[in-house]
């Protein structure tokens, strides 16, 4: 089968000041194919795609669309050439409906909402999207928002679609659905470029893989003729061995004990319902569950960022419910929640890496002044340890690539010498080398006796890394199992609520430590206090 070239890049170079993000990159995309773009964090993938979609303009080199030279100096130009990009950070108007967002900014488009709605439905039907054109964006889940972004691009008649890490924010089920849609689009003659760090996804979805390393084009291979190992080597430039160990550590008394916890979500419904569990020092407790099962609210409550409706969070026998976040940080509880929008919580985008390092510790010391020198040294150490790609410690975080931004965040949390680490999706958007570096760090902390709550999405990783796994479904505990004694399928069934182990073990005092830091009477007193307090309020 002779293949038609849809898009060709020749000798593209782009630099930001002294940083060369792309150097002489060549890339060919055919019609009817899905091309994966692979590379470590900061290797220039996003930059390259931004040049095709008109966000940046190349310093040198040429772009050909359908064999003809193309000048793309704005996203509008890109649409003119049939190119559309779905960015990592969605660009939608929250208070508008899906349909309104889709036609926003199209010139000469008559605002005939009926017509738009029916066209949107037509596109949705053709490729198998689930979408309600009348639904408002702020009522949508992440995956629905992504659907809107994709349809927005299709509506404008794109033939070349670029997706920048679309799977980083999706659940496995949602990923399956997305892939089915992408395949349909490919069979319809479209070209798709997809960026992802998960090699299994690369193997599953793409026809060919192009690899970038440190801004340079390394090569392209056919997916059916390659292995994950070969791809990793091309990406990293040397042979590496990747494995996750489950370090055996003598676990200590419970550090964090949670009993009968009830937390409400933003819309007032119960996000966590009567949850009890505990984390010991030297133990990694995984939390598995589909998006929206309450993990976010749980993390926020532990960090003091969300009100606890009722129940207890005891840290070393002391209640931290109602404590201000600052005090909780001082107690040595570190929370890093990697949100869908990475820069949203935990980092200050225009601050330097140094300043971001001291976000939680700037208050230390008795003088009114911040200790920037110490932070700079920590930043330097972190850059070396996690191989963060940056010109200097003084570079604003906003200028780093997505994955490197995240290394700063996770690195800082661990650097703070906590005794409890709550971390959600710490490897979201990290290349595999860095992801394994993070697992190593977590293990290192575990060996030091730190208790770790690890909210994850990749069940394979959780099975290999965690000691125990707690499964949540709709805010309820479905069971706490030993990672060595459970299978992926069992976890899957529990996540959807099909199996509930707590029912079977009810009499065994589920989620309650035998060697609690508090005696039974102390727990009772605490309970009485809480109830009494509630009565007094009424």
């Amino acid at each position: 089968m002779s293949k038609e070239i849809a898009l060709e890049l020749k000798n593209i170079t782009k630099s930001f000041g002294r940083v060369v993000a792309n150097r002489n990159v060549n890339l060919t995309v055919y019609k009817n194919e899905i091309l994966s773009l692979l590379g470590e964090n900061g290797s220039g993938k996003t930059t390259l795609m931004n040049m095709i979609s008109g966000i940046y303009f190349p310093d040198e080199g040429e772009i050909f669309v359908d064999g003809k030279p193309a000048v793309i100096s704005s996203p509008k130009d890109a649409f003119g050439y049939g190119i559309g990009m779905i960015h990592q950070h969605f660009k939608l108007v929250d208070t508008f409906t899906a349909a309104q967002n889709i036609i926003l900014g199209i010139k000469n488009e008559k605002y005939n909402i009926k017509l738009v709605n029916s066209r949107v439905r037509e596109i949705a039907e053709k490729y198998g999207f689930d979408i309600d054109p009348k639904k408002k964006i702020h009522e949508m889940s992440v995956s629905e928002k992504q659907t809107v972004e994709i349809i927005k691009v299709l509506y404008r008649g794109a033939n070349i679609l670029i997706l920048d890490e679309p799977t980083a924010v999706l659940t496995p089920q949602e990923i399956e659905k997305l892939f089915a849609i992408l395949r349909k689009m490919r069979d319809d003659g479209k070209s798709i470029i997809i960026i992802t760090h998960k090699l299994n996804e690369v193997m599953e979805i793409s026809d060919r893989v192009s690899i970038l390393r440190k801004g340079e084009y390394i090569g392209t291979v056919n997916t059916c003729e390659t292995t994950e190992k070969q791809l990793t080597e091309m990406m990293v430039g040397k042979q590496i061995e990747l494995k996750i160990d489950r370090v055996k550590v003598e676990s200590t008394k419970p550090l964090l004990e949670i009993r009968d916890l009830v937390i409400r979500s933003d819309d007032g419904s119960k996000a966590i319902k009567n949850v009890s569990f505990y984390i010991r020092g030297g133990e990694i407790l995984g939390v598995a569950g589909i998006t929206g099962c309450g993990q976010k609210e749980l993390c926020e409550a532990i960090a003091g960022l969300r009100k606890v409706e009722s129940g207890f969070i005891m840290h070393k026998g002391e209640s931290i419910v109602g404590m201000p976040p600052k005090l909780i940080i001082e107690k040595g509880i570190s929370m890093s929640f990697i949100p869908e929008d990475r820069l949203g919580m935990g980092l200050a985008p225009s601050f330097s890496i140094t300043d971001n390092m001291m976000l939680k510790t700037y208050g230390e010391g008795k003088t009114p002044f911040v200790n920037r020198q110490a932070a700079r040294e920590k930043a330097q150490a972190l850059i070396e340890k996690l191989e963060i790609a940056t010109p200097s410690t003084e570079t604003p975080v906003r200028r780093l690539s997505g994955g490197n931004v995240q290394k700063v965040l996770v690195g800082r949390e661990i650097d703070a010498n906590p005794n409890v680490i709550v971390t959600a999706y710490p490897v979201r958007g990290l290349d595999i080398n860095s992801a394994y570096a993070i697992y190593d760090i977590l293990n290192e902390q575990k060996s030091k006796g730190v208790g770790i709550l690890f909210v994850g999405e990749d069940l394979d990783v959780m099975l290999a890394l965690c000691d125990k796994i707690l499964v949540l479904c709709h805010g309820e505990v479905m069971g706490i199992v030993h990672a060595a004694k459970v299978t992926k399928d069992q976890l899957g069934l529990m996540m959807t609520g099909a199996v509930n182990l707590t029912e079977l073990q009810k009499e065994k005092n589920f989620g309650i430590a035998k060697d609690s830091n508090l005696t039974e009477t102390e727990w009772l007193n605490a309970a009485n206090e809480q109830n009494g307090g509630a009565e007094n309020e009424n």
């Binding site: 000041g17 000048v71 935990g346 976000l359 009114p368 002044f369 911040v370």
Partner: protein
């Protein structure tokens, strides 16, 4: 086959550029001033038929005729600027420096008016400073409280507070004028206590405000760059969510920062009353509270840079006023035009600092006399 409409490629590409070296940025700004001067030159030939070089000469000499006044004007504008930058750094758009200074000044004048001769001068001066600061702080903190607790829009709020302050000052400056006819003058010249509450002169009347402005400038530089408070302020401006996440009490920071703004305004108000004007009226601040915003932005909220931007702005205004006098123009309109053009160019050139403009292939082709691609396309069609 699709019939393609032949669209010309653009001549330039504009792209964001946020790592331009400092010296290049300065060069662009210098270039902007040059362009402005050329435009102003042409304007002066057309409008007042004078040799532009003579005019520029007059501007420069004019600005420096009275060095002390020039320095005083710089110091006063600097104080206004310093009052707004901590809030601006926090993305709290304080438009109310004028009102905050006015109300402080009014309170200091009230002390002069009602306590003159009744308490020793030192006590009077202390009282003036304290009440002025207190009043300014209240004026600054009210919008801050509303912003912190109810999320009200601070731009409108502070702006409205200006009008309230002006109204109050207008009322009292008239009703306290002792029948001397000069609206605003409180202890009128010749009366027994008319110098009560005047701050002592160091050298001359202007040295004190200049020293104070320099001190406050140094303080603000250190405060914003090296202190924990400054760090918190900047963080709240950067991301409220992140600030909450690291345990910062955002409400407290907003209010604290506006107290600082108020204190600086209060000092300025007391200086107007006790040292510079000895009176209060609605036009005492002129448009300084707003010019200060320009000065703060141009300096990128950096107190050290602001030394230069205030100098530049005051220098221009004074110089241009002198042109009107020397060339006996009927009004200051011409000098306003000159200042306007220069400001326009300076602010406009920020575009060229923040964005990179590159010639496109088509422009290169045109310049080298080659056939352009769109021309080729046209031929094809």
């Amino acid at each position: 086959m699709k019939t393609e409409k032949v669209k010309n490629d653009p001549l330039f590409h504009v792209s964001k550029n946020d790592n331009l070296p400092r010296w290049k940025a300065m060069l662009i700004r210098a270039g902007a001033v040059l362009v402005a001067l050329v435009i102003c030159g042409i304007m002066s030939v057309i409008l007042i038929k004078e040799n532009p070089f003579k005019i520029y000469g007059t501007m420069i000499t004019g600005a420096f005729i009275d060095i002390w006044t020039l320095l005083k004007d710089i110091a006063v504008l600097l104080m206004f600027g310093l009052a707004v930058i901590p809030a601006f750094k926090m993305k709290f758009w304080n438009m109310g420096a004028n009102g905050q200074v006015l109300i402080g000044c009014l309170c200091a004048i009230a002390c002069m008016k009602f306590l003159a001769g009744k308490v020793p001068n030192v006590v009077l001066i202390i009282l003036m400073v304290v009440t002025s600061i207190a009043a300014s702080v209240i004026w600054a903190v009210i919008p801050a409280i509303f912003k912190a607790f109810f999320g009200t829009n601070e731009t409108l709020f502070t702006l409205m507070m200006n009008y309230i302050a002006i109204g109050i000052v207008a009322y009292f400056s008239f009703s306290w004028s002792d029948g001397s006819g000069t609206i605003g003058l409180v202890n009128y010249i010749g009366s027994k206590n008319y110098m009560a509450g005047w701050f002592p002169n160091i050298g001359n009347k202007y040295v004190m405000i200049i020293l104070i402005a320099l001190l406050v400038d140094a303080f603000m530089f250190v405060y914003m760059k090296y202190t924990k408070h400054g760090f918190e302020t900047a963080l709240v401006g950067e991301s409220v969510n992140t600030a909450k996440y690291v345990g910062i009490n955002v409400k407290k920071v907003i209010i604290r920062t506006l107290i600082l703004s108020g204190v600086i305004c209060g000092i300025m108000g007391a200086m107007f009353a006790g040292s510079l004007e000895h009176t209060v009226n609605t036009s005492i601040c002129g448009s300084k509270g707003f010019t200060a915003i320009l000065v703060a932005w141009l300096a990128n909220f950096d107190p050290l840079m602001m030394l230069f931007t205030t100098f530049f702005v005051v220098f221009l205004q004074t110089g241009a006023e002198n042109v009107s006098t020397v060339f006996q123009l009927k009004s200051t309109d011409y000098s306003n035009i000159v200042v306007g053009i220069i400001f326009f160019c300076i602010i406009g050139c920020e575009f060229f600092i923040r964005y990179k403009i590159m010639p496109s292939q088509r422009l290169k082709d045109i310049l080298s006399g080659k056939k352009t691609r769109s021309a080729e396309k046209k031929e094809e069609a």
